[in-house]
């Protein structure tokens, strides 16, 4: 899980062009939107693309979005659960 969380932080910085932020600056449980990293709705779409490109996961239910993308840890948990389901 730690490795996945670390990879996700690097991928988020690259995918979202967060050039003023280092991956290690992002807390595992820091909210990604609004009061946390301050991501916006376009960033949310980019995170969906990230899941699809890097982990071959299609977020089929839009209602899941806020829960999945709450923090880096919730993203990692979602990916892990999805991979376990498909293995």
């Amino acid at each position: 899980m730690d490795k996945l969380i670390s990879d996700l932080k690097s991928q988020i910085v690259t995918q979202l062009n967060l050039q003023d932020i280092k991956p290690e600056d992002i807390g595992d449980d820091q909210p990604l939107f609004v009061e946390g990293l301050g991501l916006d709705s376009i960033d949310a779409l980019e995170l969906i693309v990230l899941l699809q490109q890097q982990y071959k996961i299609k977020l089929s239910n839009a209602d899941e979005g806020p829960k999945v993308f709450r923090t880096v840890r919730t993203m990692a948990e979602y990916i892990t659960a999805h991979q376990a389901q498909n293995s």
């Binding site: 979202l16 967060l18 960033d43 980019e46 693309v49 490109q53």
Partner: protein, 208 residues
Amino acid sequence: MSTNTYINADCVITGNRIYKNGRPVFDDQAAAAPDFLVSAYRHFDLQYPKFYKMDHTSRLGWLANELLLQEGFQKEKYRPEEVGIVLSNSNSSLDTDIRYYETVQSIPSPALFVYTLPNIVIGEISICHGFKGENAFFVSEQFDTGFIEQYVNGLVNNNILQACICGWVEWLGNDYRAALFLVEKMKTANSVIFTAENLNKIYQIENG
């Protein structure tokens, strides 16, 4: 009734060099064109993280506008609705359209898609400064200074705007040029009259 309007500031960015009010203020010939914008952003210690998310055209226009309005522009004199933006270029958003099209081959990029219109640069500047006045983006083969003079004067002389940021913002491949002008009714010590001839002269600053 038509009255004189004035260019109270100008900023030209081209050939990895930035000119403010006719004087070179930054130069980085070693940088590749896109990196030059980041180099300038850091040099002037600008703080607007969204800059990094913008496409080339918006970065160029936003940067030129920041430098244009630094030192001299008194935003508090105007209501948000009194400040407008009129820009133009010859290739619209083609640079980003091409890059977006490349992503469509796999997974389309939402972050690129939102920049596939030329007037997004106006939105970026307006959001950053809270400007809510009339705005327009025109596409013409060359910088049509006669048209810009007439259009902007129409807005200012009819009191639709009290101040207007106008000019040219173009990026395609590695070719780029921004030439922005702050047009106001008020005359200052460094004002030049807002005419097509003066726009042309400043636009081609590197040619002397």
